[in-house]
Symmetry: D2
Subunit: 337 residues, 4 copies
C-alpha cells in the first residue's frame, strides 16, 4: 500500500482524486490539504462535496509544514494553483515523494513560456527538465521512471490524444494549421463564485480566442501549429473537441485508420482511449468515466476528429491516477473502471 | 405618454422592466438608475444584458439626487433592495410620482413584520398604510386609485392566484394548513456571484424551510395559515407551485370549478391568469410570458393545484407593468403579450 | 462466484445493472437478454449505451427459452415490464434461481391491486405471497431468506425511507395525510421515443395527480394514507421528494431525531441511508450514487422531510444489488460505493 | 392589412410564425393549416404549444384544397417539409399569393442539387429560377420584388451573415476552406418523438460530418468551399457558429472591421445583425430574439468569427417575417423587437 496525500483537495478535481484514491486497492488516502489560509480548513471534505458523505469524510488540513505533511508519504497529488505547485513541488520531491502535479507548472519546457503564459518566472529548471508529461497513453515508458509527472491540461488531453497518431505517422499537412474547437463544462473553471460561472449567465460562448494557455501546450507537445478555440458550455462536466485538419497529399482514409489503430489497439495494458471509426464522440458517453472517445471521418483531403473526455477525470484526476498506476506497476485502469 | 424611470435597473428584473417599458406604447423610458456606488454606473444596460443591445442601450446612471431624477417623471419603478425601496420611495411619492415597488418594503401591514422578517424597522407607516398590494387580478379597483403599489413577491403571486378563489368562496378547510411546494429558477436569487448560484453547485434542493419571508406574505394576504417550502431548481427562469389542500366538508369539484371560473373567466379586461381544469401547469408554457397558468384536480376531500409563472415577469416585472396599466387606464396586458 | 443474468437489459436500469454486476467481486455477468422480438437483439449492450464500451460489451440475446437461459444461473435480475416480470418470474423461480424483480409485479399483496392499478390479473398468488419487498434498510431479515425479491419503485423508495422511521415510532398524526411531492428525472420514464420525453417538450410539470401507481404502493407498505404528487423535472437522473406531515400531539424535534437515528445510525452493516438533520437533501449529492439522503426539520406540529435518490440506482439497480448482497451474505454496499 | 396563412403550423417554427404574425400590426392571421392526414387537425394551435393559450387559439385546419385556402389571402408562409413546399408552392404562387417558404425547396439553383441532397427531382424550374434567397440583410432589393422568397436554413443564416462581408470584400484566402463548427439546440430537429431527441439521449455531439445539406447551401451562396460540422447541443433553442478562416495575404484587422461595418452599420433601415468587434457572440443574448450577433477577432493570418442566432427566429420564423416586411415596405423589424 502506498501512502498518498492530496494538496488542494477542496476543489472539484481534488474531490474526484479523493474518491478515486479512496477506492484504489493499492493506495491509502492519508491526508487532504488546503492552503494554510483557506476558510475550508478543518471541514471534512464531504461538507463541501455532499456526494462524498460516508465515503470520504477526512478533514481538510491546512498545509503549514511540508516536511510534516510528507512524513511516511509515498505519493503526493498536487491539485493546486499553478504558482502553488511551482512553489511546493520541489520540497516534496527532495523528500523523496513521487509527485503528480495537475497544474500547469511543469508541463512545458520552453524558454519564457511561464513568464509569457503563466505570469511567473520558473525557478526550478532542473525539475522542469526532469518532469515527465503525463499523457498516459503516449508517455508510458517515461512515466514509469518519473519522480515528477506533469499531468496534461484538460483541453490538451483531448486534442493530443486525437491528433498525435496522425502527426506521429506524418499524415497531416501542418502548413494548414489544424483547427481545434472545444466546448468545456463549467467545472473546468473551478469551484469559485464568479459572475461568469453564475447559473443564469452561463450559455454557450467561445472565449480566450488565440490566447488560451492550452494553445501553446498543445502546439508544443504536438510540435505543430494549431488554432485552438475553447468554449464554455451549459453543462457541468465534460469536454468535446472537434478538430478539422488537412491530410498530407495522397493520404487515404485507410492510412488514417491504420495510424489510429496502431496507436491505440492491441496495447499490452488496457488504457483509456476508445476508437470510433466513422462515428462521432458523444459527451455523455464519457462523463463520469476515465475514457477518451475518439471518432474520425475522412473526406477528400480533410479529416474531422471528435474527442470527448470528462474534464475532471481523463482531463485531470483519473489521468493522474493512471499515471500513478503506470509509475508503480499497477494495471493502468486500476480503480478507474 | 408617461415618463418612466427604473431604479435598480442592473439586475434581471430591471432588465425585464426596461424591455417592457421600452416597447410600451404609452410609456417613455426616461432613465435607468443604479446606486451611487455601483460599479455598473456609466455602462449601458446592454453591456450587462447582451440581449438588450440595439434594444435598450440607455446608460445606467448613479442615483445621486432624487429630486433631479424625479423631474418631469410620472412613474417610478423600484427594482431595488428592500431597504433601499423603504428609504427612497417616500421622496418620490412626495414629489407626486406614481411608485411601483417590486421589493418587499410595502407589502405587508402587520406589526413587527419588517423587524422580524426583513431585519429593519419600518419608518414610513403612512405610506405602508396607503400602499396597495399589486396582485393585479384581485386588487384592480384599489390599484386604480393608488399612488404606491407594492408588487407581490414571485412565490406569493403564484400561490395566491391559485388559492384565493377557493378561500374567497370559503371552500377550504384551513385548519389543515395548505401545503405549498414551489420550485424557482435561479434568477430568483438575483444577479450576483455566489457559490450557491454557481453553475456546478445548482441542483434541485429545498431551502428556507418554515422561515422564508414569502410564507408570512402569503399567509397574511390569504388570511390563512400555510406551509410554504421553496426549492431552487436547475433552470434559469420560472416558478412552479404545487399546492395541496383539504376542502371544507361537502365541497364538490364543481363548486371548485365555479369558484375558479368566477374569479378569472369573463373579466371585463383581459388579464394574466389562464385556467387548466383537470390539467397541470407546465413551466415552459409561461417562461417568457406574462401569464400565470393554474391547473387543479379534486379527489375526495383533497385538491391539488399547480400554478406556473415566469418569476421575473408575472412574479415581478410584467405584474408591475400590469399594475401601471390598471392604474393609468390602459388595457391590462398592454405591452405584455 | 454467483452466475447472474439480466432480463430486459437494454433500458437505462438494465445498463446500470450490467455495470454494477460487471464490477461486483462475487458476481459473474453471464448474459443479457431482451424480448425475442426486440430490434436490439444481437447488438452489444454498449451499442445502445456508449458509456459501457470496453466495459460491458456483451451482446443482447433474445430471450427465447427460459430453461436455456437459466442453466447454471444463480441470480436473475428482471428489469422487464410489469406484465413480463409477472409472466416469467415463476419459471425462473421454479428452476431454483434467486429472482430480483425491478418491476411492480410482486410488490403489493392486496386484493384487486393489479387489476386496478396495473391493468392485469395476477396469476401467481403464491409467489406474490412469498415475495419479499426489497426495501433494503428495512427488510434485511426477510430478504436474507427470500427467493423472490420485489425491488421497490423509485418514488416509493425515497418516500418510505423518509417516513418509515416516524411511522414505526408512532410520531405522525396520520389523520392528516402526509403530502409527498416528488420530482423525477426523465430517465424514470424509460428509454423510449415519446413526445412527452422529447427534449424540447420536457419542463417541470406535475402528472398523474391522485392516480399514480406508486401512491398505493407507498400507502400499502407504510400503512398510512398519503397524497402523492409526482413531477417530471428537466434533468436526466434523480428524484427529490419533499414530504410535509403533521406530528402526533406533543411530539418533539428530539423524538423525531431519535427515531431517525435509531432507524439508520449504528447499523451492523453499512447501508445506503445518510441523515441530514436540520438540512435538506440535494439532488446532485446522490446522482450516480447508491445513497438516499434524508433531511428533516420540525416546526411546531409540522415536519418537512426531503429525500433524494438516484432513481436508476437506489430507486432501482443499486437497491436490487443491495438486496443480492443481503441475500447472499455479502457486505450490503459491495460494488456500490 | 395583409391576410396571412401558415401552412405546416403545428411545429416549433409554425408556432413562432403564428405568434409573430398575430402581433404584427399590418398582418392578419387568417388560417393555420396542417396536412390533411395530420392527427393534429382540428386542435387549436395552443393545445400543442401551451405558451400560445389565450394568444393564438386558432384551430389547425387540414389543408385539403389550396384554392379555398388561398381565397383572399395575400401572404402564404410555408413551414412545411421540403417535398411538401416543393409540391404546393406553385399553386399558391399561380393564385397570386406572395409565398415565403421556410423549407429548402427553393434555396439553391444548381443542377442535381435536389436529387443529390434532398432525394427528389425538382419539377418547378421556373419558380426555382425566380425564387429570391431571403437572407434579409443581403438581398433586400431582390426581396422587395419577389413573389417567392426562399428563407435560408438556420445554420446557413449564421454562417453567411458572418462570412459574407469578408468574401464580398475579398479578404479571405479561400484556398484554405473556412471551417464552420456550429452547435444547434434540439428544436432544430423539429417537433417529433425520436430516440435521438429523447431527453436522456441528448448530449453534445457532432453529426452529419461532410454530408449535411446546409454545407452545399452555404458554399453555393458564398461561392466558396467550406467545411461545415453541425453539432447537437443540450439546449432547446439557438445556434452558435464558430468560424475559422485564413485571411488573404496582407489583410489587416482594420480592413476586416471596415468590411464588417460597411456591411452592417449605418443601414437605412434597422436590420437584425449586431456587431461585436473583438468579442464573442453568446447564445443566450439571441435566444428569443430576431438578432444575429457576430463577433470576430484577427491574429496574424487567421480570423475567428462567432455568430449566434435563435434557430427558430432569425434561423427561420423571424427572418421570414423580416422578408415579408421588406417585400411589403414595412420597417424591417416590425413585430420582431
Amino acid at each position: 500500500m502506498l501512502n498518498t496525500i492530496i494538496i488542494g483537495a477542496s476543489g472539484y478535481t481534488g474531490a474526484e482524486l479523493a474518491k478515486i484514491v479512496n477506492r484504489h486497492p493499492q493506495l491509502t488516502l492519508c491526508g487532504l490539504y488546503v492552503s494554510a489560509t483557506s476558510l475550508d480548513a478543518g471541514k471534512p471534505l464531504s461538507a463541501l462535496h455532499g456526494q462524498l458523505r460516508d465515503v470520504v469524510d477526512l478533514p481538510l488540513q491546512p498545509l503549514t509544514d511540508i516536511k510534516t505533511a510528507a512524513a511516511n508519504i509515498d505519493i503526493v497529488l498536487l491539485a493546486t494553483a499553478h504558482e502553488v505547485s511551482h512553489d511546493i513541488a520541489a520540497e516534496f520531491l527532495n523528500l523523496g515523494c513521487q509527485v503528480f502535479d495537475l497544474s500547469g507548472a511543469f508541463r512545458v519546457k520552453a524558454d519564457d513560456f511561464y513568464r509569457q503564459y503563466y505570469n511567473f518566472e520558473h525557478k526550478y529548471d532542473e525539475w522542469l527538465e526532469n518532469a515527465v508529461y503525463g499523457l498516459a497513453e503516449w508517455n508510458h515508458d517515461q512515466i514509469r521512471q518519473a519522480q515528477l509527472v506533469a499531468v496534461p491540461g484538460c483541453y490538451p488531453t483531448a486534442a493530443q490524444l486525437a491528433l498525435k497518431p496522425l502527426l506521429v505517422a506524418g499524415l497531416l499537412d501542418c502548413d494548414q494549421w489544424p483547427v481545434i474547437n472545444a466546448v468545456s463544462g463549467v467545472s473546468g473553471a473551478g469551484r469559485k463564485a464568479r459572475m461568469t460561472n453564475s447559473f443564469c449567465e452561463v450559455s454557450l460562448q467561445a472565449y480566450g480566442l488565440f490566447t488560451h494557455r492550452h494553445q501553446p501546450e498543445i502546439a508544443h507537445h504536438l510540435n505543430c501549429d494549431i488554432i485552438f478555440t475553447p468554449h464554455l458550455g451549459n453543462f457541468k462536466r465534460g469536454i468535446l473537441a472537434t478538430i478539422t485538419a488537412k491530410l498530407a497529399i495522397g493520404v487515404t482514409a485507410d492510412e488514417v485508420t491504420a495510424a489510429m489503430e496502431s496507436a491505440y489497439l492491441n496495447a499490452a495494458d488496457q488504457h483509456a482511449v476508445r476508437l470510433l471509426k466513422n462515428k462521432t464522440a458523444k459527451l455523455d458517453d464519457v462523463v463520469g468515466s476515465c475514457f477518451c472517445d475518439i471518432g474520425w471521418q475522412v473526406q477528400g483531403e480533410h479529416i474531422i476528429l471528435t474527442a470527448a473526455i470528462d474534464n475532471l477525470l481523463k482531463g485531470a484526476s483519473s489521468q493522474a491516477v493512471q499515471c500513478i498506476n503506470i509509475r508503480n506497476g499497477f494495471p493502468q485502469l486500476t480503480a478507474l473502471v
